[in-house]
């Protein structure tokens, strides 16, 4: 009696094992991966706690890092940036986290538009591109280190870094470019990210234009004049492309030449994916 029961139990277990095996094969690696990720996250958290407790910034290895002070500095810097740049540029930085600057050099092209433009990111290289095609031209790696290091770091707040780039590009583009390290696209800023940013910028401009048009339609005539005036204040630039793109088109291959490339600096041709 016992023998047949045992045999039946063994058979049932073997059948269950066979049924469960494919599912286990699928879930075991996932489980192992999750456990490893949890382990890594726990270690990273412990490390961050230790570095913060020691007053060292986990990213910059900076002693005496105070997140509250940095936040206040950034808020002050944003106010200053806002008071210096055009309304459209401020809104762009506020909403997208970067600025687009048309080529400050007023070089006429056959289309009558800007031959190139710059994307200005905080604490990242300035990226030059062709507005008409979206083709990336160069990265200009430039920094404004304050070696007095008042709080242990030479880095300006993000908005101050953008303002310094804006002022330097606006006032003396060639001097800034001459001081920058020029690289081919993709050295430090991921080209895919730049194309996504250009697509976001295109969407943002479209939405902004729609909003302004709606405001003009609904506002009384005198107010509409103010709206248009503000729009022109933010958007007027003799160097901007005549045609406002309604959608971002992916770039053409690098073989498509720019009408007029930005001024050349010292070329470092090695390309390293970001």
């Amino acid at each position: 009696m016992l023998l047949p029961l045992s045999a039946a139990a063994i058979m049932a277990m073997a059948l269950l094992w066979e049924l469960a095996l494919p599912r286990l094969r699928g879930s075991l690696p996932q489980l192992a991966h999750e456990l490893a990720a949890r382990h890594r996250a726990r270690h990273a958290t412990d490390r961050s706690r230790r570095t913060l407790a020691s007053g060292e910034h986990p990213r910059f290895g900076q002693q005496g890092y105070d997140p509250g002070r940095e936040l206040r500095a950034e808020q002050r810097a944003r106010e200053l940036l806002r008071s210096c740049v055009n309304e459209e540029e401020w809104a762009m930085y506020r909403d997208l986290g970067f600025l687009r600057m048309w080529a400050p050099t007023r070089a006429p092209t056959h289309t009558g538009g800007a031959p190139y433009a710059y994307l200005v990111y905080p604490h990242k290289p300035i990226v030059a591109y062709v507005p008409q095609t979206g083709a990336l031209l160069n990265e200009y790696c430039v920094a404004f280190p304050d070696e007095t290091r008042p709080y242990g770091s030479a880095r300006l707040p993000d908005a101050d870094d953008v303002l310094a780039k804006w002022m330097a590009l606006n006032a003396d583009e060639r001097r800034l470019i001459a001081d920058a390290n020029m690289h081919l696209p993709g050295r430090q800023v991921d080209p895919q990210q730049v194309h996504e940013d250009l697509a976001r910028l295109s969407r943002w401009e479209r939405e902004r234009m729609d909003r302004l048009q709606r405001a003009v339609r609904t506002a009384p005539s005198s107010a509409a004049g103010v709206v248009i005036e503000n729009l022109m204040k933010g958007d007027s630039n003799s160097a901007r492309p005549l045609k406002i793109a309604t959608a971002y088109t992916p770039p053409r291959p690098a073989s498509a030449p720019a009408d007029r490339p930005p001024p050349a600096g010292p070329v470092r041709s090695s390309v390293r994916p970001a």
Binding site: A73, N86, Y151, A154, D160, L163, M167, Q188, S236
Partner: protein
């Protein structure tokens, strides 16, 4: 006129403030201006065109600062960033 300086961990700092029509204040402004240039700073003056467009111009001496400028902003000179 205000002389401002961009500073890490702080944002802008007012270095000096004064009226160019008052000789003593003008002298103080010139001294502060020279101190910053000697420390290797760049100086820019935010400007506004007649059509309302905002721009900036770099100045290398106090004489180049427009008399009606409200602010001069000093910031560390540019250096080629890390070629990682």
């Amino acid at each position: 006129m205000k002389l401002l300086r961009l500073k890490p961990g702080h944002g802008e700092v007012v270095l000096a403030e004064g009226d160019l029509e008052v000789p003593e204040q003008e002298r103080e402004l010139i001294e502060a201006f020279r101190r910053e240039l000697d420390a290797g700073m760049w100086a820019a003056v935010p400007t506004e065109r007649r059509d309302g467009r905002r721009e900036a111009e770099m100045v290398r001496s106090f004489d180049e600062v427009p008399r009606d400028a409200e602010r001069v902003i000093f910031f560390p000179r540019a250096a080629g960033g890390a070629g990682r």
